[in-house]
Symmetry: C2
Subunit: 130 residues, 2 copies
């Protein structure tokens, strides 16, 4: 079986052109067949205003604090804390005082975020012999 | 609308009882309706041997290097590099010389990993006034 025959693909997030829906928020994405995820950095106090989408959103905060606004209340989500937001539920997200880094997973794939797709890495660039 | 009416749920990964499929590999998960993810730590050289599953797997390495074995070749995936493995494709994963921390997303939800589910946090515990 030759390289790539499995359909496995590799990506480099740091080389992605970010999507910046509002100043201070940068998203870089990887897109599968059934889901996608965005690596999202939010600068302090940068806020993605109230919005909703049909996609289920599953997130985890990696660094800092993300303030999730739901139901008129603010939820301060810290490192290694996670959330599941069903599709259609209105929410906003804001970077805490030190900003934050989070991963947001969308099901199904968030086609409207394709512009933020991380470039594919040739599998050969990741192979090491010995 | 009272608390919880939106169906949003919060979780604490650090409080999860990990699943340890082989010594040195620890998985903690969050389970949505359409997908789940596992926060996976692999100690140096700990390996999940060749296996496959019908779920699509979308992963990102957060720290260290994960060695993905596919098609008889080893791919060294570093921080902020990612991969998409279609369902049914045989693969193995090993921690690099310093181990690694990664997130693996599964579509659909990986029901057989439910034992590693992170405990739910009461939304009220994340709310701050002022």
């Amino acid at each position: 079986m030759h390289e790539g025959a499995t359909g496995v693909r590799f990506f480099d997030l740091d080389s992605a052109e970010p999507l910046t829906p509002v100043p201070g928020i940068h998203m870089r994405g990887v897109f599968g067949a059934g889901a996608s995820f965005s690596l999202v950095s939010l600068e302090p106090d940068a806020e993605l205003p109230l919005h909703s989408h049909p996609h289920e959103q599953i997130g985890i905060v990696l660094e800092g604090v993300e303030v999730l606004v739901l139901d008129g209340r603010e939820h301060h989500v810290g490192p290694r804390q996670a959330y599941v937001i069903p599709g259609g539920v209105e929410h906003a997200g804001r970077g805490g005082p030190e900003g934050c880094l989070a991963i947001d997973i969308f099901v199904p794939t968030r086609e409207d975020y394709r512009a933020s797709a991380a470039p594919e890495l040739p599998a050969s660039s990741l192979q090491r012999s010995g």
